[in-house]
Structures are given as C-alpha cells and as structure tokens.
C-alpha cells in the first residue's frame, strides 16, 4: 500500500468513525435514536462479517480448477467455525484457521 493510498483510506475512515462516535452524543443529547435506525444498525455486524467471509471464500467458477483449490479453505473454515463457537476467541480462531489451512493445502 503506497503512502498516498494509505492517507486517503486512513484519513477518510478516521473521520467517518469519529463522526459516528461523537456526533450522536452531542446532537441527540440523551434522546434515543429512532427505533428503526437502531434496528438497522444492529443488522450491520452480522451482514458485514458475512459479506467479508463470503468475499474471501466464494467466487463464481471457483471449482473450475478442480475441487481442492477452493475446497481446502472451505473445509478449513468449518474448523474455524467449530473453534470459534467453542472458544469465542479471535486468537484461537485465527491460529486454528491458519493451521488447518496450511495442513489442508499440503495434502
């Protein structure tokens, strides 16, 4: 990532998160957000994390080169799901994912 790209991404993202963190506190002054807005905001984490995972794992025509190249990450993901549900730990999930992925791609 070049310095220019870095500055654009960093400054813009820093400003939007600052606005989301600070503005409601000063503008709403203790009033509630509209319930519909609050509900929609609540759906963002599951939708966004699912979109990120799907973007990493799924591509049209992913099995064109045979099952394994795209299948190995899918199998490793199942391992991660189990570890994540059991431990609820980001660190253990990352470790389990990397180990499973490395072993599966060696097959």
């Amino acid at each position: 990532m070049s310095w220019i790209d870095f500055w654009i991404v960093f400054v813009t993202c820093a400003l939007t998160i600052l606005a989301c963190r600070v503005l409601p506190l000063f503008l709403l002054k203790g009033k509630q957000l509209p319930p519909r807005v609050e509900e929609a905001l609540g759906y963002i984490p599951p939708a966004a994390f699912a979109a990120l995972v799907a973007n990493d794992l799924l591509t049209p025509g992913m099995f064109d080169a045979g099952f394994w190249p795209a299948g190995a990450p899918l199998v490793a993901s199942v391992v991660v799901i189990v570890v994540a549900r059991l431990t609820k730990s980001l660190l253990w999930s990352a470790v389990a994912g990397v180990v499973a992925y490395a072993l599966l791609t060696m097959i």
């Binding site: 998160i17 409601p24 709403l28 799907a54």
Partner: protein, 228 residues
Amino acid sequence: MFTREDISAAFKAAVPIMLGYVAIGVPCGILSASIGLNALQVFLMCALFYSGAGQFMIPNMWLAASPVASIIASVSFVNTRQMLYSTAFAPWCEGASKRLSFWFAATVTDESFGVNLQQFERGGWSVPKATLVNLCSQSSWTASCVVGVLIGNAIGVPLAIASFAMTSIFICLLVTQKLNVANVVAALCAIVGVFACKLVGLSGPAIFFGALFGVACAFVFSRIRERA
C-alpha cells in the same frame, strides 16, 4: 482532571480488555505488515482511527485488490454501529465537560463500551474513569499492533497464510454474533449479495453492496414478521 482513585479503578476495569487487545493486536500488526504497512502507519491508525474490525478489514480488502473507494465505504459502513454506543453514553455524559466528553466518545470500542456501560449502571462510575478505561485499552492496542508489525517484518508471514488468518477472524466475529432469525437472514442475504455482485463483475464493491443488501433484507424480513 484524573484523580489517583480514578486511575486505579479504571485500570482494574480495563485489565481484561488490555489483555484481550494484546492477543488481537499482535496478529493485527503482523497482518498489517504483510500488506507493507510500516510501524508509523500502524501507529497512526491505532492512535487516530482505532478500530479493530476496521484495521483488519483494510489489509484484507487491500489484498483482495478492492478499490480504495470500496474499502472506505465498507469500513465506514461497519463502523456506523458506533452510533449506538455514542447514543447509549449520552445520558451519562450530561454533567461532564465538553472536552472530556469528546475525548471519551472518540475512544469508545465494542469492548470498552461493554465494560463502561456495566460500570455506569452499577453506579460510582464517572466520565473521567470511563475515559481512562478507554485510554488504557487504546494504549494496549497501539503497543500490541506496533509490536506485531515488528514481529511481522522479522518473520515475513506468507500472504496466503496471513490472508486466511483474516478470514478466520471474520468467521469468528460472524459466528459469535447473537443468533436470532433476523441476524441469520442478514448474514445469508449478505453472502448471496456478495456472490451476485461478483457474478455481474462488481467484485470491487461486492462487500459493501452485499452487506447493505443483507441489512435491507433483515429489515424487510422483520417488518413482514411484525405484520404476520
């Protein structure tokens, strides 16, 4: 502004967050190094952006060759949930000075939100103490990420491995969400949305549009269920 008692109470409350941030911050630094970010860039991100999910998303989307505009839109979209936290803290900040309230609000994260809200509700908590919890957490996050960059530079993690570590982190964040029907609809529709975007050649903004589609579907779904 901060008394001795504030500092010791805040530190005690912040320790679990600080330890958790070491465990996530070091990998975050290693992954940031894998896309060529240096220690100064990572330090700036931790000091002025300070978002765990965001700091994982930026390297991840960069590796997936997402356009800069898509990275910004997706990261900002995910971070709009901070508005919920900001709203929740407003009543507790009424007596505090504007400058301190600003500082406090600007350094809230998912984890410190949970800890501070619990303390405010329990009583005997104050905005200075809550701000100190945030600052302790941020210091731990910043130090851990910078150490991670140095480790990453020293060992040189292969990109495929680094990239799957990020995928694993998102999987963990996904499966530890509250499991209710509307959230499942949001997640499934987001997955369908991402795939559909890629099918029509919109792989750049796929994450943003996919997530937006997921939120819209869950919203419509719960309206329909209300009526039924």
